[in-house]
């Protein structure tokens, strides 16, 4: 009897282990989704269409135009900030630096930081900011463009951005880091002000890097 209980218990333990192991290797896909019904070989097939990041056109710290296509083939992390931000931006970018340092030498990981205050954050201001942060090369872009376009794009990243004269620095925004896969689908959101969430982001990027291509296509 004792033996049966023990073996049942160990079996339970074993199965729970494999379960957590499995769930941690596949990241969820966020955002809205809609069913699409197609006719393939005379049969009705229903597929799921996941939300993706729409096209955009901004300028980076080098004055180069960056759009959706510039990120083709890259896993990337997006956030929203402004250089004169007195509240959460310094801590966000202290943490983002860690992401940058970790993946600096792996070519297909990028970071894009959208300025939500383009009237102040001109290209030279962004370049100066990047230089002082110690960011070189093309792994981390600081982007600016039309304010309305940036705010609208923030919605696709499921992030709220707003102007508010009462907030410190004149803007309210959430300090989220958004992880986007090569198919431009959102795979994770992380509070960029919390070091433990940023550690999770780094782990999740590694998971995404190892994700087999055929699985993503599903």
């Amino acid at each position: 009897m004792k033996f049966i209980t023990l073996s049942a218990l160990s079996l339970l333990l074993w199965s729970s282990c494999t379960f957590t192991d499995k769930s941690s290797t596949i990241l969820p896909i966020y955002g809205s989704r809609e069913p699409v019904t197609k006719t393939v070989n005379g049969k009705q097939v229903t597929d799921t269409l996941y939300q993706t990041i729409p096209d955009f056109k901004f300028v980076n710290q080098y004055g180069k135009t960056i759009n959706r296509k510039s990120l083709d083939g890259s896993i990337y992390v997006a956030d929203f900030f402004f250089t004169s931000c007195p509240s959460i931006c310094p801590i966000m970018h202290r943490n983002m630096l860690q992401v940058y340092q970790t993946f600096k030498n792996s070519g297909n990981i990028k970071i894009i930081s959208h300025s939500i205050d383009p009237s102040h954050d001109s290209v030279p201001v962004l370049k100066n900011y990047a230089d002082k942060l110690g960011v070189t090369g093309n792994n981390w872009w600081f982007l600016q463009g039309q304010k309305e376009a940036t705010y609208k794009l923030a919605e696709s990243y499921l992030v709220a951005v707003q102007e508010d004269s009462k907030a410190p620095g004149g803007f309210v925004h959430a300090g989220y880091f958004i992880l986007v896969d090569k198919q431009k689908q959102i795979r994770g959101t992380y509070d960029g002000t919390k070091p433990d969430e940023v550690d999770k982001l780094i782990a999740d990027i590694k998971t995404l890097q190892n994700e087999p291509a055929n699985m993503i296509a599903q």
């Binding site: 310094p90 801590i91 202290r94 630096l97 942060l133 110690g134 002000t193």
Partner: protein
Amino acid sequence: MKVSIITGLLTLIICMVYSCQSEDQIEYMRYYTAGQDLYKTKCQNCHGAQGEGLAALIPPLTDSVYLKANNAKLACYVQNGLKLPILVKGKAFNGQMPPAGLSPIEIAQVLTYVKNSFGNQMGLYNVQQVGKDLGKCD
């Protein structure tokens, strides 16, 4: 009987000496602990949990030489913010620090914390001294 009187007296003396010594210590600890909480809410986002700053954007608070040399001006910087370029740990910083929005007693507490953390050891900075230093702001 005699022994117990002597023991009692000795205990009394020890207690008196101990309480005298720790009066300063208690005040220092009161400032330091309150300052630690203020630091977390008002300073840590930019200057970091270890006072490490942020690259070349935000100066660290670990430069004891700078803190000593500018000791009398620090209260003004916290109260009014800072725009001037400053040289910390051999690096120039020319960003802007916003005013912290703290009362004189809070400035005394947070500066007592900063001046005795991150490798700095400058002792208590009380509210009387803050009052004097604030009177000399530019």
